[in-house]
């Protein structure tokens, strides 16, 4: 068996209805679970960028890129290992206001990318961002205070290697 690794896929597509279905169906057909997914606009006008995170073998990753690129409205697809990307996730923690002045919590907030973004009489909200592990760590620390709500975003990633999409589109047009 090939070694399973964590891969980040960047898929540049046209901005049409139904593409998410078409792309996720490719993972589904191969029984691959999507760990996280982020959809946003990209650096190019009218071109969308999907960021999928999956745990698979490199051979599977190579084949998946082929299948993703085969879709008519996919402009290009890439896969990258962790060391080829700069990546980030963001999380929000909603906690009861009774803990706001708890010194312990203040301590835990010292994690360098965490801050309070909302305070009301009943609750306050901490935003934290970083690697998945950082956020998991923060989660474990805040859990004892009773999380009223927790949510984490999908991974967003910028690649260190160049992804020559603009050039490609120019060449085609």
């Amino acid at each position: 068996m090939e070694e399973v690794k964590n891969f980040t896929f960047s898929v540049y597509t046209e901005n049409n209805v139904g593409i998410l279905n078409r792309l996720s169906a490719i993972f589904l057909k191969r029984h691959i679970n999507i760990e996280s997914l982020t959809v946003s606009k990209s650096e190019i006008d009218n071109v969308h960028r999907f960021t999928f995170v999956v745990n698979i073998s490199e051979i599977q990753a190579y084949k998946l890129v082929g299948q993703l690129e085969k879709q008519i409205e996919v402009i290009r697809a890439f896969y990258h290992t962790k060391d080829e990307i700069i990546y980030h996730e963001t999380a929000l923690f909603k906690i009861s206001t009774e803990h706001l002045y708890d010194e312990d919590i203040q301590d835990k907030m010292k994690f360098r990318r965490a801050h309070i973004i909302a305070i009301t009489e009943r609750y306050f909200v901490i935003e934290a961002s970083g690697l998945k592990e950082d956020i998991d760590n923060m989660y474990d620390k805040l859990k004892p205070y009773g999380l009223l709500q927790f949510v984490r975003s999908g991974r967003i990633a910028i690649t260190k290697p160049k992804m020559a999409i603009s050039e490609l589109l120019q060449e085609i047009n």
């Binding site: 597509t13 046209e14 901005n15 049409n16 209805v17 139904g18 279905n21 078409r22 169906a25 589904l28 057909k29 009218n46 190579y62 084949k63 082929g66 299948q67 690129e69 085969k70 008519i72 409205e73 996919v74 402009i75 589109l169 085609i172 047009n173």
Partner: protein, 577 residues
Amino acid sequence: METLKNEVQQENTATTVKMTGAEAVIKCLLEENADLAYGYPGGAIMPVYDEIYNYRKDFHHVLTRHEQGAVHAAQGFARVTGKPGIVFATSGPGATNLVTGIADAQIDSTPLVCITGQVGSHLLGSDAFQETDIIGISTPVTKWNYQITKASEIPEVFAKAFYIAKSGRPGPVLIDITKDAQFGELDFSYKKCMKIRSYRAIPAFDTEKVKEAATIINSAKKPFIVWGQGVIIGEAEQEFKNFIEKTNIPSACTGLGLSALDTSHPLHVGMVGMHGNYAPNVLTNSCDVLIAIGMRFDDRVTGNLATYAKQAKVIHFEIDPAEIDKNVKTDVAVLGSVKETLVEAMQYVTKADHSDWMQEFDKLYQIEKETVIDDQLFPSKEGLTMGEVLGGINKETDGDAVIVTDVGQHQMFAWRYANFTKTRSNVTSGGLGTMGFALPAAIGAKMGVPNREVIAIIGDGGYQMTCNELGTILQTKAAVKIVVLNNGYLGMVRQWQELFFDKRYASTEMESPDFVKLAQAYDIEAQRVSKREDLAAAIKTMVQSKEAYFLEVVIEKEDNVFPMIPTGASVSDIRLS
């Protein structure tokens, strides 16, 4: 829609006329020279059918007896003509009934443009009568699909759909049109689609790769070619023939590659795969260079991948980049249309003589002939064999007929024993293995090439999945010849039960109605043959008939298809019995 306009480049020839979306649908099809469709009306597609009535002089519609029949007929038409098959169905069950045929077309790279009606756009998502999410359902089995909710979108979407269905590696597309978009008005002008920025139909080929491939081929001592349907789809039959004749390389086809090269060609060494010929399967594991041309290394072709052609350098001529290294790791991949890459390769390959290597094929062929083929074609046992029926058909048609097969034992016998002298003559459900394919596909094939003899060869099981389409034959007078090879079993499954499940024949024995009476009920001349001495005359009568004809041949009940590569075995471990 703005993005769609940005993405697509179109030929500019247009003048504008005001019309309804429904009329625009027919206009678009006529602009694409598609004047024949198969389908079944229903509520959500009625405005389009009303226009079919208006355009009945220029546009022909064949009413099948089930939407599955429509899509298979369109596939048959597409396979013999190379043009996209056109299908109409209504929303809900009409649309879902197309899914099997669409999946079949996707895996066998058959161009289709399927048009489904949809509930009005204001009702989308409300669980309205006959509403189903056919876009969601068809996404994994279409090359592309699109839901039209405004009449104004129709021309661009149809132009794009035809371009996608036909170009590159072809496939099925589905257009779902809401009822209000059919009723709505638009200023119609039509521009054919020439290019889509996110889609490269044919990858540009790399001359260096062609040269690299040629160098390996030129130094090969035991080169072997396996070609697939890509040669037919790419209209590269002549280029392929030139290539093998210059290099003198023994060549075998996949099931879908059949008929690209005359089966009597001296370099045609048969078919590879699970029930393919002995020599090409065994020698796959002896060749020093394996040249795959327009094929995708399906598991039914390769058997166990861990032992497939491991000793050989592998060269893959292929149009679809996703097929490269998907199943078999290549040493040199030559991307591009085989029609272009084979011509390019001709410049660099040298003439060669491989007669010693060719003799190895001949030797193994002799073994197969003595142990399997002669018993099938000239049996000494009492019961009729499927092989001898094919032999009889070959004799009567000189290999000129289009042979349409269903799925199962009869299909394997047809692939193994039918002679082909013309390309696009083997219409079959290969990748998906869809029982029920043959009868409707034969109707479509006959309409695609009305001057050719079209013979459907079907088992008693598959026949009963779509024999409702006899009604379509009754109504259209399509002169399809139907041969049902009746062994009273779901023969292929029974064969596996015999070999791998201890002869436990679970639900494979099948009682059937009187097929002759059934055909006669549809006004189709019919006869049944169960004796060897009557077979030749019956086939002759069938072939000579100018109209549709039904022939049932009662076959030995427990006949098996051999050779056979059991699932998971190596190609070289192919069994002769």
